[in-house]
Subunit: 334 residues, 2 copies
Amino acid sequence: MARIKDVAVRAGVSVATVSRVLNASPSVSEETRNRVYTAMTELNYVPNAVARSLRTEATRTLGLIIGDILNPFFAELARAVEDTARKAGYTVVIGNADERAEEQDHYVRTLIEQRVDGLLICPTAEVTPLVEQAAATGDPLVFIDRVLPGMDVPSVRVDGTDAIGELVGHLKTLGHRRVALISGPLRLSTGRERTDAFVKAAAEHGMELRPEYIQSGDFQLASGRALTARLLDLPEPPEVIFGGDNLMTLGALDEIRARGLRIPEDVALASFDDVPWFPHMNPPITAISQPVAELGARAVRVILDRLHGRPAGSVVLPAVLVPRQSCGEGRNVS
Amino acid sequence: MARIKDVAVRAGVSVATVSRVLNASPSVSEETRNRVYTAMTELNYVPNAVARSLRTEATRTLGLIIGDILNPFFAELARAVEDTARKAGYTVVIGNADERAEEQDHYVRTLIEQRVDGLLICPTAEVTPLVEQAAATGDPLVFIDRVLPGMDVPSVRVDGTDAIGELVGHLKTLGHRRVALISGPLRLSTGRERTDAFVKAAAEHGMELRPEYIQSGDFQLASGRALTARLLDLPEPPEVIFGGDNLMTLGALDEIRARGLRIPEDVALASFDDVPWFPHMNPPITAISQPVAELGARAVRVILDRLHGRPAGSVVLPAVLVPRQSCGEGRNVS
DNA sequence: CCCTCCCGTGTAATCGATTACATGAGGGTA
DNA sequence: TACCCTCATGTAATCGATTACACGGGAGGG
């Protein structure tokens, strides 16, 4: 593969001049520039980003560590991050942590070895020593979606509290009283926040939220199904089940269908986290939609701010309720 | 950030020895090795992969260019590629081509600049000069999912012909005669193959496949919806619509619902490409499922074979029919 | 005519690792 | 004792770019 030196020889100039052409430096004469361009095409020259990065100490690359790319929420997030980064001239390397601290650490390590310019992390529950150290070292980190307590790292996240309040109001209007929640681990900021907001809203609206109606799992489909089974097995099952994310909601749906129950007549269903196919379900699923694309875009902007020495604060975005039919005769909005 | 030289000084050895420890060379004494390890942890040393790659001319990185990460098919593919590559000690950089040749070329260029060891591409319809040149130069390429005619590049793909034949048989058994297809662009190998297989199977089973029942779009939701509208507007609309991928099927579903038609009574629906939520639709969607995880894993193996100088042939995997209820009283398999 | 300044270009150090080759200590053998 | 071999380690070149600094020539001013 042709190197800058080959181009230089062919164009009859020095490597410095070729480099200047590569970097669009103004101090190269028109004529020389053309000679260099010609030599480059003739040789099929492709600059070596590895060598450039070594010298410049910048890779123009961002690392993104997410929980699970199969989860549409993360897929959309990855897409938004990638789009925004690309427009700013950055490449994104995605790491799939599979919601495991160990995998997350693997990627943190690898990406730091690769000298990414910044690291966007959807952290797992645990604060691992490696992440702690990276933060302490001053590596440019930003947390997305989830927050780790007691760490001085800027974060970009969604606050669903208001939307959950709205949802509970909606449920009350529809005549429901016994409401249940199946959510993620309380150690995850998102799991805790959604639970707290639901409990608070239920209290405010005078709903009947018994202790056994609050179940926490791991944001995965199987746990959604298992917890739903537990709820439906209660002597007095809830009238509504609220899934803490789209996968737990899908698990709930599986269990409800397996028992031949009707939605919303036998049990109503709502979801935190909207996905493109919820409107097409039978019945369409009422959901709380997060501004995922915005989340990703803002996260990139925060990290770029940090990289360019601009002040970088945290960002909190609101979620919105999208009422459909899975909780009863709501407005028919898709 | 600490460099190998700092570690060497602190451990009282030369950089060569530190490097040997890093690369687990056996010719370092136990005692020295320990001193080096200690120095590394004390300095929080993280090896610089950029420098290493420059010297070794290998990045242990693979590039993957896909059509659209929001499409569950590609998300699953990305996941499989990443998993398999990771197990072999490789990192994967994903590029989102958004089904546009221009974006695809951007990533081909960028990833070659970054000197990825191999490139996995789901090519867009056009054979761009850049891709052609990369293939000619002997860059390690592998095509996934789609094939470009007349290029000497190994490919890993799914052949749905048999499954489509099975589907048409299934439709016939259920009493359908007028069958229609909404598929992707014929210039895409997948679009053409699915269309050809459908036409052939329909003929073999004596189905009524009128020319106007064959529509081709762009594998996106909007085009699925528009083509479905066109089919339903025909004086004699088809009894069955077969979507060429999951997005076109979803578009079809939108249009069918918008018109208040029932599935399968008014019009039956089937899909090439199964996704996790099809079983949860109302009614559950009959689909042809591709071995996506296998597809990704095999593609990685093919490229690694090439990298290691082993012979690397193309791979064709079979798809399978998963009958559900959207075409009528089929077996109830989820 | 000479001095300065600027413009375009070249020389060479540098980034942080890997690795071929050199070196020196120690042990075994004749 | 002399020789050779092995083992552990060090020296220095190298990968392909960037860039500070040097330099030569031409223009412009006095």
